[in-house]
Amino acid sequence: MLEDNAIRPPVQRVEGLDASLDRLIENLPEHLFGAPDDPVLEPGFSRDPFTPLAALRARAGAVVRRGEDGLYDGQSIFNVWGHDLSKPHFVALGYDAVNGIGTDAARFVNDEAYGAHLEAQGRTVNAYDGMDHVLRRRLFDRTMFGRAAMEEWCAQMTTPLAEYLVGRLKTRLEQGEEADLCRDIALPMAYKCISTIIGIPQEKFAHFVTLGEIAQSAPRDMNAAQQAVKELDAYFASELQARRQCPRHDMLTILDQEKERDWKMEEDEIIRHCRFLLPGGIETTWRQTANLGFAMMTHPDQYQAVVDDPSLVDQAVEEVLRWMPSGFVVPRKALVDAEVEGVHIPAGSFVCSIQGVANRDPKYWRNPNAFDIRREQHPHLTFHVGRHYCMGQHLARAIIRTSLRLWVQHLPAMRLAVPADSLTTRGLGVRCPAHVPVALAA
């Protein structure tokens, strides 16, 4: 509840949709694009984890334990979350296994599951269980990320922003310029939405995305991650003090003013959540929009089908989410001994649920590797399941659906500017193409 003496202005229409944003987009450094763990993965696996992991599931089952040789029945899999590998470690690859682990909050918990991320970033809403989690989740859902709260944000933010960026893209393409759906749409959409919600200025776009990416890199470089965390903490601490003088409708003010039951978030936790949700909200959302561009542009016949019948937008988006999720792997820790799909998982084990592969389980999808917007729908696992179901799903869906709706409406002749087979998605922890170059069909 808002305290009686608190004053917070309503959600404002998103600002800065002008040449200043255009300049920032043009100057985004190249290192921001692509999958962060691509450089540490075996190149073939990074390009296509689906084939080897489906083969692993077929020969070794839906849940596979890491052997003493460090391999999963002969298959090497990068330790995405930086887990302590002296503990038993498992990967879940089947739909029923991932669904079962995600919905079994009594046996599979988030506490300690985030490995190196937890060490670098401290506890955030992802790392709590039970009522500690419910309090925080309710606060975020009620004020910002739930469906009802998000409707207001989307009307003032997501739709005007998408209209501006698609208009800009159209102008460039009509002038015969090259454009890139990652640089010109996906990353600016996610950054502007998340930074508006959190309360970060537009002009530091590249700086904050860079810092956020480094803060998320703990499994690969703990020192760099801790430095980035420190810098972001100092920034948000100073911003929080400024909001107390001059409240705005943003996360800093909301978390500082709101209570859930009688519980109120402490100052250090407000700072921690702003710092966590900056990269946490951007990294998967922009890459999912990039995956939308990748899927639609490498399947021009299906893009044309949505152009011809825009009522297909929602089901096309769900198929993109199933077929090429950006968030690929979710961790849990076994609180007690458990058995999943016939595999014994001892208490204290870490489990990586690879939802990107479970989304292609042939038990639930015929010809699962095919991208087919007309296939029979079955709930995918991309936003995961259970109590820790992705908090940003409503924002992510709004961004992706609005993007596709505006593309087919304003850019029906948009096509890939390079051969389709020259374009790949990469990565394991989060997955995306580095670029999706587009042009207008002649």
Partner: protein, 105 residues
Amino acid sequence: MPIVTFVAPDGREITVKAAGGRSLMEAAVAAQVPGIDADCGGACSCATCHVHVNAAWLERVGPPGATESQMLEFDGNVTERSRLACQITLTDALDGIAVTVVGRR
């Protein structure tokens, strides 16, 4: 296929046919029943699908589970007929059920 009637917060009655095995919440979302936000997607962790079950159906629906009761404590207007729609699985035994949507506070 069970037939379900939702009474929306504005008093409108919405009657839908729902696939058996799905939850009451899923039937409401598919029919765009106002007041069923289902933020958590059916994970029993948000209490944004709070309904009052029509008295005639209470016994067949049964009481809320332990987690569900905890979540209901977060919502206003809780009565002995309160349930979370995501925790009610539609079966033929519930054909004809009527519930009132509590809606946003």
